[in-house]
């Protein structure tokens, strides 16, 4: 009971700090994922049909994914210094694989009948892409974006270690001061944000599923 009261007092005292950290955390995460989409989705479209290149690209991005986060941050520091920039670059790199892979998978697993129908109706490849292929692949792509977002929201906590701020800052302070309140003040919002983002994007995925494909 005392712990709970203690916690509530802590929250009351630090509410602005927590909110600031949360906002920064969202900025880091969504910013990276957004740029990740802007790069990964067109790339995914481009490698569709080019199977050999697709293999190489996916392998390279996959390799990036296996690199430990702290190590990648370590690579970024000498190049980009500390702060938000290197953090976002690293998060951006991590966001690529799920989105890229799902875009590729989503586009290549479309029932060929649809493509044939579109061609038969006289669509050019651009119309085919935007009016047939992308809408059909959208649920899978959204799923990739969801996976990416959840992952990034979680690992953005490390950004604090190189001065990028975010909820990781609170957790890190908690480690240094052995104070559970700080740790929870950082961890709980992240967990909540992650759950909320997952839920929202899940809904978006359903909403974007073409009516016939549900």
């Amino acid at each position: 009971m005392a712990k709970v009261l203690d916690m509530m007092q802590f929250l009351d005292m630090n509410d602005t700090a927590i909110i600031k950290a949360a906002v920064q955390h969202l900025y880091l995460s969504f910013g990276s994922v957004l740029i990740g989409c802007l790069v990964a989705i067109p790339t995914g479209i481009w490698i569709t049909g080019r199977d050999k290149i697709a293999g190489h690209v996916l392998r390279i991005i996959g390799t990036i994914q296996t690199i430990p986060s702290l190590a990648l941050l370590g690579f970024a520091l000498p190049l980009f210094g500390i702060g938000t920039l290197p953090a976002m670059i690293v998060l951006f790199l991590y966001s690529l694989l799920p989105i890229l892979r799902n875009t590729y998978t989503g586009l290549t697993s479309i029932n060929p009948a649809f493509i044939e129908a579109g061609n038969g109706m006289g669509m050019n490849s651009r119309q085919l892409l935007f009016m047939v292929k992308l809408p059909l692949a959208m649920p899978v792509i959204m799923d990739g974006i969801k996976i990416s977002t959840v992952y990034i929201l979680s690992w953005a906590t490390l950004g604090a270690l190189i001065g990028a701020g975010g909820l990781g800052d609170l957790i890190f302070t908690g480690i240094q001061t052995a104070d559970a309140n700080y740790i929870l003040a950082g961890a709980v919002p992240v967990a909540l944000l992650t759950a909320a983002a997952g839920w929202l994007l899940g809904k978006a995925e359903i909403a974007l599923t073409p009516a016939g494909g549900k």
């Binding site: 390799t63 296996t66 690199i67 430990p68 986060s69 702290l70 190590a71 990648l72 941050l73 370590g74 690579f75 520091l77 000498p78 959840v150 979680s154 690992w155 906590t157 490390l158 270690l161 190189i162 990781g168 957790i171 890190f172 908690g174 480690i175 052995a178 559970a180 740790i183 950082g186 961890a187 992240v190 967990a191 992650t194 759950a195 997952g198």
Partner: protein, 206 residues
Amino acid sequence: MFNIPLLTLQHLELSAAGVALAMVIGIPLGYIITRNRMLARAVLALIDITQTIPALALLALLLLWIGLGDVPLIAALVFYSLLPIVRNTYTGLSSVDASLIEAGKGMGMTGWQLLRMVQIPIALPVIMAGIRVAMVTAIGIAAIGVLIGAGGLGAPIWRGMQQMDNGMILSGAIPAALLAIITETVMERVEQGLTPRGLRKVVTGN
């Protein structure tokens, strides 16, 4: 000043320890839930939640509950390794065709013989894939173990960051990255090697 080869070995050992423990718990668990669809859903949903907790946060909490050092790190590694291992064990074993189970039972195989001679060999590649994912993730998390006093290659990276010493950072970052990449490549090979010959893609003339 850092004994990189020693730290690399340490890093590998810590990761492997976490994954091994997770296998001891997770593989039998994955088998048990194949018997009961509802139980499977509940367990998998529960373990799924583990993925929403940031590693840094869990390490921090374990620090408070257990203390400094390798032990809380390994506990965290077990925690994060459970999902890929349990889920892949479950999926792999469930993917064994029901007709094979019926044929085996009807021929007079005991449950254990079915498991040993049919289900596990067929599910093995999928289970191995789960172990591989767990291992790569573990190597990644072990890197931040340094923050709660664990060993491994996180130390030179972290110290280098604090001291703005790029050389020090890279002396840890490069081996860590290589360790992850090489481990994944080796485990992929093992995965392929463990695929029963009768299940590899065959180009038939039939």
